[in-house]
């Protein structure tokens, strides 16, 4: 079961503002998804290692050699606001 508070908490973490209708909708949908997982939990997976990747690959590495970066102009091109080569964002007071 997903409570209304769970939905509000998840929305807060994702920085989403939800309408009353959306809260109700997501409460129902997230509840269903959890239900599917409860179904899966019935299986005994104690001898199955957790799968973190679909591909059976490891150690994809690159040499430590610098390559050209984007120009500052290119880097800032998608920014809604920029100033003096920086991205500009609303004032941040404290990390929360």
């Amino acid at each position: 079961m997903i409570t209304r508070e769970d939905v509000l908490h998840i929305a807060k973490l994702a920085r989403l503002q939800l309408s009353e209708e959306q809260i109700a909708l997501f409460q129902e949908q997230l509840g269903k998804i959890l239900g599917y997982f409860q179904e899966l939990e019935k299986l005994d997976t104690s001898s199955v290692p957790p799968m973190t990747h679909v591909l059976d690959l490891s150690n994809v590495l690159r040499p430590d050699e610098p390559r050209p970066s984007l120009s500052v102009e290119e880097a800032l091109r998608n920014a809604p606001r920029s100033r003096e080569g920086y991205f500009e964002v609303p004032r941040i007071v404290e990390k929360t």
């Binding site: 690959l57 490891s58 690159r62 430590d64 610098p66 880097a75 800032l76 920086y86 500009e88 964002v89």
Partner: protein, 468 residues
């Protein structure tokens, strides 16, 4: 009352490029956002690829800290929103870190257990402007870090500082981190609790300690604050605090109710990292002699006082320099004395990291002193000049006519002259004021520009004074 401290240290690795992209990691002093690309800007569809040298450096640190290296480790996403983190998550390691269960031996001999060591990326930098906005520079976003988490084995603020100093020394010996705390290349958070008995008290976390002194001061303050509360029977609130250096106190950043919810999950964009025995052994063999090993060996081999050893083994380059000189002039205590008084001072004044005086030149000066060719005062000048110009000591001595005057006849003339010019001191001596000889000796030194052999001068003065 018992104090329990654990430290969480972040160390930037000295790689050329970032952890998951080929942008330069040399962010310090670079124009803002000049080192960015779709990967470190967090653009949709851009894929991270792991930097091999970062893995190598992290392994070096882990093995130097005697950690176990699991056969496999996995990257994970740590999710939170903050403008210094363009993707909305930091790539870190969580359930399967690179290394586990090691220890760091302090100069006191105490072993502090290491819980884990993992690789992760650094965040960007924020500048808060009073006009009501903040500026974001993402040059640092994606720079490789290792996070080193200790067990809560530290029992005082002093010990926490010793741990941090030794950890920095190890990382610098390995050449994997610059260890510059003011620039933020090495950062430290602490968990601290006090308890009247064997049970663990409620802990608080302290952030923003940017120097060894700050670590010790912040912890002292926090331990005292917690003790006062416990003694009055008040509860300790679990909280994250920040150290206010200017005011000398810890301040509340956030309480437990606002604690983060990082929703870690395995990073699907990166495949697991597998470290086999061969790789681990190869890195292990590449490790240099570490500070603790060096201190123990020097104690045995050179029989130097503990203080000398701690000063001279602090920096690997200084320690190696000492050993090159001792290899040429096998009198460790002599070399140590000269290094601590002259060489380290000149090194500091030169504001470089390397000792500019060649070991063979330094050894030659010490030989010249021991053979009596020059005296100690002259030796200091020769060292300083050779340090600055790179010239050979023999050349400097010859060019400046600095050879000690031990030639009997030359010295006798000067002594005679000094005695003739200072009748009062001579009379003083003869009336029993033996201290007057010091003055006369000083006059001879002055007349010879410090080149007179002090022992011969004294002998000669005594001989003449007693003869008259």
């Amino acid at each position: 009352m018992r104090t329990v401290i654990g430290l969480e240290v972040h160390a930037q690795l000295l790689t050329k490029t970032k952890l998951f992209c080929s942008c330069s990691a040399a962010y310090f002093g670079a124009p803002p956002n000049a080192h960015t690309c779709p990967v470190c800007l967090g653009m949709p569809g851009a894929l991270p690829v792991l930097n091999e040298r970062a893995v190598e450096y992290a392994l070096k640190a882990a093995l130097a800290l005697h950690c176990e290296i699991p056969a496999r480790s996995v990257f994970a996403r740590k999710n939170y929103f903050y403008p210094d983190l363009p993707k909305g998550y930091q790539i870190s390691q969580y359930e399967e870190p690179l290394a586990l269960r090691g220890y760091l031996e302090l100069p006191t001999g105490k072993r502090v257990r290491i819980r884990r060591l993992h690789l992760e990326e650094d965040a960007g930098k924020l500048l808060h402007r009073p006009e009501g906005y903040s500026l974001v520079d993402l040059n640092r976003a994606g720079v490789p870090l290792i996070e080193i988490v200790s067990e809560p084995d530290l029992s005082s603020p002093e010990e926490a500082r010793l741990y941090m100093e030794e950890l920095r020394r190890v990382l610098r010996y390995l050449g994997v981190c610059s260890g510059d705390m003011e620039e933020g290349s090495l950062r430290c958070d602490a968990n601290v609790s006090v308890s009247p008995d064997e049970r663990l008290g409620t802990k608080t976390e302290i952030k923003n300690m940017n120097s060894f002194r700050a670590i010790e001061e912040a912890l002292k303050f926090e331990v005292a604050r917690q003790r006062a509360l416990v003694e009055k029977g008040h509860p300790i609130e679990q909280a994250t605090l920040t150290w206010n250096e200017a005011l000398g106190r810890t301040e509340l950043m956030r309480s437990k109710e606002e604690a983060e919810d990082y929703r870690y999950f395995p990073e699907p964009d990166l495949v697991p990292l597998q470290i086999d025995d061969a790789w681990r052994e190869r890195v292990k063999r590449s490790l240099p002699e570490l500070p603790a090993q060096k201190r123990a060996r020097w104690m045995q081999e050179y029989k130097l006082p503990e203080y000398d050893i701690s000063v001279l083994t602090d920096e690997r380059s200084v320690a190696e320099y000492f050993e090159s000189v001792v290899g040429l002039y096998p009198h460790p205590k002599d070399v140590s004395n000269w290094m601590m008084s002259e060489i380290l001072r000149l090194l500091k004044e030169s504001q470089t990291m390397e000792i500019a005086l060649k070991p063979e030149h330094f050894a030659r000066v010490l030989e010249m002193v021991s053979s009596g060719q020059i005296n100690r005062t002259v030796a200091k000048d020769v060292i300083a000049e050779s340090f600055k110009t790179g010239k050979a000591p023999d050349e400097i001595v010859r060019a400046r006519g600095l050879s000690q005057i031990s030639d009997e006849q030359a010295l006798a003339e000067i002594v005679a002259k000094v005695l003739a010019e200072n009748p009062k001191a001579v009379a003083d001596f003869q009336s029993g004021k033996e201290a007057a000889i010091g003055f006369l000796q000083g006059q001879v030194m002055k007349a010879t520009g410090g080149k007179a052999d002090p022992k011969k001068t004294r002998e000669m003065l005594l001989q003449r004074l007693r003869a008259t």
